[in-house]
C-alpha cells in the first residue's frame, strides 16, 4: 500500500494554503445548542466528550471504591465494612475500572475526538453507529448499576466459575451488562478500522499515518477479534446461572478451567486494548514536545501490531497454577517473553526521540515521562511474573496486584492524562493552569509509588490478593499503601479543580499552542462542526519537524476531490509561498 513521495506517478496539484481561524466564533461546541442536540449528536467530537463525561463518572466511582478498600485494609481485621461488602467493593472496583473506564478511555474518548481530525476526515465512517456504541455503553452501565443495587456481585472481576455460578447476588445482571458493553467496544473498533482504511485524506499514506492512529488501529483489531469471545463467554456464564447449562460448572459436569481459558482468551488481549492506544499517545506527545522527528517510525508502528498479535497467544500465563499441562505452561511462558521485546523497543525509541531534541517540559510531556518510568517498572515486573518458577510463588499475590496497577494506572492512566492534557486546548479551546497541572502530576507520581511499591514487597513476602483480613506482619505496608492512595486522591481533586477552572475561566488557546506538525493542530481550536471545510491535502508527515511550520498549514486542492489516499501529492514551490 505504501508509496513514497518520489513516486513517478506524482500528480501536480494546485494547492492553496490558509491559516486556521484563531478563536472562531462558531465551533462544534456551540453550533448546535440544547441537551437534545447533544444527546442525539452524530459528531465524533461530541460523542468523544459524552464518553469523557461518562468515564470520568466511572473513574470517580471506581476511585472512591478503591479508597474504601484501602481504608478497610488499615487494620488486619475488620475496620469499618464487613467481609461481604469488602468482596463486593473489590469486585466492583475491578469491573468498573476495567470495563467502564480503561477500555473506553483512550479509544472512545481521545480516539473518537482525534481520529478523524488526524485523518483529515469530516467524521468517522459510521457516525450513527458511533452514537449507537455510546448508548450501548450506557445500557451496559445501567445493567451494572442495577446489579450493584440488587444484591451486588462478589465474584471478583474475573467471574471465575464455579463460584460465580453458585454465589448469591446478582451476577447475571452484571455479566449481562459487561456482555452488552462488549458490543460497544466491538462497534467502536469496527468504526475505527474502516475509517482508517477508507477515509484518509489525500496524501496520508500508510507511512504518514500518525503513530496514535497505528496504536488505535492495533487496538481496534484486538477489539474486534477478542471481544466477541468475551461476549460468548459471558453469555454462556449467564446461561449457566439461568438454565444451569453445565458447561463451566463442575457440579453439572462442566469444567472451570475451560471457563478460565475462554475468559483469558479475551481478557489478556483486553490488557493490550487498554495499553496499546497509550503507546500511540506517548509517541505523539514525545515527538511534539521534543520537536523532533520520531525515531524508528516503523519500529513503533509495527511493534504495536506485533504486540496485538502476540497478545492473542499468551492468555495461558494467567493460569500457570491452574492445573494446565507443563507443555502449555512452557509455551505460554515463552510467548509471554516475546511480548516483552516489542515493548522494550518502543521504550528505547522514545528515548532516542528525546535525544538531541528541543525538549519543552509542558504537562503532557511530564506525564509522558512519568509514563515511561512507571510503565518500565510494570514491564520488568511482568518479566518476573512470566518466569515460570517465580510465578508459582507470586501468582495471586499482591505482587500481581502491584504489577498490573503499574501497567494499567502507571501506564494507561498516565498516557490517558498525557493525551487529555495534550488535546485539551483542541477540545475546548482553553488552556489550563500549567503550574497546578505540574503540581498535580508530581503529587500523583509520589502517591502512586507510595501506594503500589509496598505492594510488590508484600506480594513477594506472600500476601495473597483479595484478602479482607491479613496477618499482622503486613500492617505497616498496608498503612503506607493506604496513605499513598489518599495522596493520589488529592492529586485528582486538584486536577478536577484546575480543569473545571480552565473550562470556565481558562485563557483562550491558540489553534496550535504546542507548535505541533500534526494535522489536528492545523485547524482552529475548537474545530468547526465538520472539522474541515474542504478536503485537506497532506504533503508532509506528522513528525517532519525539520521542515518549516508554514509548510504544514492546510492546503486544499483546487480541482481535485479524489479520496485515493495512495496517490502521492506534490506541491510546487510557488504555491507554497502563497501561504
Amino acid at each position: 500500500m505504501a508509496t513514497n513521495e518520489e513516486n513517478s506517478n506524482t500528480k501536480k496539484l494546485q494547492v492553496r494554503r490558509f491559516k486556521p481561524e484563531e478563536n472562531p466564533e462558531k465551533h462544534y461546541l456551540n453550533e448546535e445548542k440544547g441537551i437534545w442536540a447533544w444527546m442525539t449528536t452524530v459528531d465524533h467530537k461530541k460523542i468523544g466528550l459524552l464518553y469523557l463525561g461518562s468515564i470520568t463518572f466511572f473513574f470517580f466511582v471506581g476511585g472512591v471504591l478503591a479508597l474504601l478498600l484501602r481504608t478497610e485494609l488499615l487494620t488486619p481485621a475488620q475496620s469499618f465494612i464487613d467481609a461481604d461488602t469488602y468482596n463486593q467493593v473489590f469486585t466492583l472496583h475491578g469491573a468498573i475500572m476495567i470495563f467502564f473506564f480503561l477500555i473506553p478511555s483512550v479509544p472512545a474518548v481521545l480516539g473518537n475526538f482525534v481520529l478523524p481530525l488526524q485523518l483529515g476526515a469530516k467524521d468517522v465512517a459510521f457516525p450513527r453507529l458511533n452514537l449507537a456504541s455510546y448508548y450501548i455503553y450506557v445500557i451496559g452501565a445501567a445493567f451494572t448499576l442495577f446489579a450493584i443495587f440488587t444484591g451486588g456481585v462478589d465474584t471478583g472481576w474475573t467471574f471465575y466459575t464455579p463460584y460465580s455460578a453458585t454465589t448469591s447476588g446478582n451476577v447475571m445482571a452484571m455479566t449481562f451488562g459487561v456482555f452488552i458493553l462488549g458490543f460497544s467496544s466491538i462497534l467502536t473498533g469496527l468504526n475505527f478500522i474502516v475509517t482508517i482504511h477508507k477515509m484518509r485524506a489525500p496524501g496520508i499514506t500508510w507511512n504518514k499515518l500518525p503513530l496514535n492512529l497505528w496504536g488505535l488501529y492495533a487496538t481496534s483489531l484486538i477489539q474486534i477479534l477478542a471481544t466477541p469471545v468475551l461476549a460468548i463467554t459471558l453469555l454462556l456464564l449467564t446461561m449457566e446461572r439461568l438454565l444451569q447449562i453445565g458447561i463451566f460448572d463442575p457440579a453439572l459436569g462442566g469444567d472451570p478451567v475451560l471457563y478460565q481459558h475462554f475468559f483469558w482468551f479475551y481478557s489478556h488481549p483486553a490488557v493490550y486494548i487498554m495499553i496499546v492506544p497509550g503507546f500511540g499517545i506517548i509517541s505523539e506527545v514525545i515527538s511534539t514536545f521534543s520537536r523532533k522527528v520520531i525515531f524508528g517510525y516503523w519500529a513503533i508502528a509495527l511493534s504495536s501490531l506485533a504486540i496485538a498479535f502476540i497478545g492473542f497467544l499468551v492468555w495461558g500465563h494467567h493460569m500457570f497454577t491452574a492445573g494446565q499441562s507443563s507443555l502449555a505452561n512452557m509455551v505460554f511462558s515463552f510467548l509471554t517473553f516475546l511480548v516483552g521485546i516489542p515493548t522494550g523497543i518502543k521504550i528505547f525509541n522514545w528515548l532516542a526521540t528525546m535525544y538531541r531534541g528541543s525538549i519543552d517540559m509542558k504537562t503532557p510531556m511530564l506525564y509522558a515521562q512519568v509514563f515511561l518510568f512507571l510503565f518500565t517498572i510494570g514491564g520488568f515486573t511482568g518479566i518476573m511474573l512470566g518466569a515460570l518458577s517465580v510465578d508459582i510463588h507470586l501468582h495471586d499475590t499482591y505482587y500481581v496486584v502491584a504489577h498490573f496497577h503499574y501497567v494499567m494506572m502507571g501506564g494507561m492512566v498516565m498516557a490517558f492524562l498525557a493525551g487529555l492534557h495534550y488535546w485539551w486546548p483542541k477540545m475546548f479551546g482553553k488552556m489550563y493552569s500549567e503550574f497546578w497541572a505540574k503540581i498535580s502530576c508530581a503529587i500523583l507520581f509520589v502517591g502512586f509509588n507510595m501506594t503500589f511499591l509496598p505492594q510488590f514487597v508484600m506480594g513477594a513476602q506472600g500476601m495473597p490478593r483479595r484478602y479482607f483480613n491479613y496477618i499482622d506482619q503486613f500492617q505497616s505496608f498496608h498503612q503506607f499503601s493506604t496513605i499513598g492512595a489518599y495522596v493520589m486522591g488529592v492529586a485528582f481533586v486538584i486536577m478536577a479543580i484546575y480543569l473545571v477552572h480552565s473550562l470556565l475561566k481558562g485563557k483562550r488557546a491558540s489553534s496550535n499552542p504546542w507548535g505541533s506538525r500534526a494535522l489536528e493542530w492545523q485547524i482552529s481550536s475548537p474545530p468547526s462542526l465538520h472539522n474541515f471545510h474542504h478536503v485537506p491535502v497532506i504533503v508532509n508527515g506528522p513528525y517532519d519537524y525539520h521542515k518549516p511550520m508554514s509548510e504544514f498549514q492546510l492546503g486544499i486542492a483546487a480541482s481535485h476531490n479524489g479520496h485515493h489516499a495512495e496517490e502521492a501529492v506534490s506541491v510546487s514551490q510557488s504555491e507554497k509561498e502563497q501561504a
Binding site: A83, T155, Y163, S290, Y297, F334, F380, A387, G462
Partner: protein, 313 residues
C-alpha cells in the same frame, strides 16, 4: 544482598526455594540496573536538550539499524535466559520424587483438611517430616481454592473436578503459614492453615498418637478444642458476633426460622444434621455455604461438640 532478600522474600524453608529466589534476585537486579539507566537517560535528556528558544533546530534521525538491533537482541537474550531458568525451576517444582510421602488435601469453603495414610484427618494443620519429600494430592469439595505455602515457594490451584498436586521437601523444623490464594468467597482470607515440620521421629510419634489423646478428655473440653481444630470458629463465633454462619452463643435449645419458613428447635438431631448435611436446612438470612463434615468427624466427636454447645448459653 542478604538483607534485601530478607526484606523482599519470606524465609526459604524448602529445598527448591533457593533456586526460585536466585532467579527472583537475578530479574530484580537486572531490572533495577536497566531501570536506573532508562531513568537517567530520561532526566539527562530532559535537562541537556531542554528547549532554549522557539527556533531550535533538531536533527533528522529517523532510525539507526545498529542501535536498534542492539536494543532488540540484548533484551531478547536476557529474557531467553530468564525463560530457560524459570522453566527448569518449574519442572523441578512439579516433578515429585517417587519416594514422596503422600498426603491427601481437601479444600472446602473455608478450611483445609489433611488425610493421612493412617486414616487420621486433621483440619487446618498439616504435619510433615523434615528432609523428606512430601507430595500433596489435592481436590476441592466446592469452588476453586489455591494451596499456597510462601515459605516453600509452592502454590497450586485446588479444583473440584480433578486432582492436582504439589510437592516440597522441608529443610528445617518449625511452622509455616498456608494460605488459600484463589478467591473463594466470604471467608477467603480466613482460610489459613499451618504447616508443622517435625523431625522424622516426632512425626512418627505424632502420626501414631494423633487423635488418641482425645479419648480421655472431658467431652465439653474436647468439643471446645474440636470447634477450633476443625475451623468451625472461622464462621461461627462463640461470643454472639455475626460471621458467615449463626453464632454458637445462645444457639442451643433456641428456636430458629429456616429459609423455607419452618421453625426448628436446635437439638441433638438438628446439630448432627447441620454437621453432616449442612445445606439440608439453612437458617433464614444465611447462605448455604458450609461444607459437610461427614467423614471428618466421628460420632464421638459430634457428641463432644454438642456437649460444648450446651454450655454456650
Amino acid at each position: 544482598m542478604n538483607r534485601l532478600s530478607e526484606f523482599m522474600l519470606p524465609p526459604a524453608k524448602s529445598t527448591l526455594a533457593a533456586e526460585t529466589d536466585a532467579l527472583f534476585h537475578f530479574i530484580n537486579v537486572t531490572s533495577i540496573i536497566l531501570l536506573a539507566g532508562i531513568t537517567f537517560a530520561i532526566i539527562y535528556f530532559s535537562w541537556k536538550y531542554r528547549r532554549r528558544s522557539e527556533d531550535d533546530v533538531t536533527p533528522v534521525i529517523t532510525h539507526n539499524n545498529k542501535l536498534e538491533i542492539t536494543w532488540s537482541v540484548i533484551p531478547l537474550i536476557l529474557v531467553m535466559i530468564v525463560f530457560g531458568w524459570g522453566f527448569t525451576g518449574y519442572l523441578n517444582l512439579t516433578t515429585a520424587p517417587d519416594d514422596s510421602y503422600e498426603i491427601r488435601v481437601v479444600g472446602k469453603s473455608w478450611l483445609w483438611e489433611f488425610h493421612y495414610e493412617t486414616g487420621h484427618v486433621s483440619v487446618n494443620e498439616l504435619h510433615v517430616p523434615v528432609n523428606r519429600p512430601v507430595k500433596l494430592i489435592m481436590s476441592s469439595d466446592d469452588v476453586l481454592h489455591s494451596f499456597y505455602i510462601p515459605d516453600f515457594r509452592v502454590k497450586m490451584d485446588v479444583l473440584p473436578n480433578r486432582y492436582t498436586s504439589v510437592w516440597f521437601e522441608a529443610i528445617e523444623t518449625g511452622e509455616s503459614i498456608i494460605y488459600c490464594a484463589e478467591y473463594c468467597g466470604n471467608a477467603h482470607s480466613n482460610m489459613l492453615a499451618t504447616t508443622y515440620v517435625h523431625s522424622v521421629e516426632d512425626f512418627e510419634t505424632w502420626l501414631e498418637t494423633a487423635g488418641s489423646a482425645d479419648d480421655d478428655m472431658d467431652p465439653v473440653e474436647l468439643g471446645e478444642q474440636l470447634v477450633t481444630r476443625n475451623a468451625c470458629d472461622t464462621c461461627h463465633s462463640t461470643d454472639g458476633t455475626r460471621l458467615q454462619g449463626p453464632s454458637f452463643q445462645g444457639l442451643w435449645g433456641s428456636e430458629r426460622e429456616m429459609q423455607d419458613g419452618e421453625i426448628v428447635t436446635v437439638d441433638e438431631n438438628y446439630v448432627r444434621e447441620s454437621i453432616l448435611e449442612p445445606n439440608a436446612r439453612i437458617t433464614a438470612g444465611y447462605d448455604p455455604v458450609m461444607p459437610s463434615y461427614s467423614g471428618t468427624l466421628s460420632d464421638r466427636q459430634i457428641d463432644a461438640i454438642i456437649e460444648y454447645l450446651k454450655t454456650l448459653q
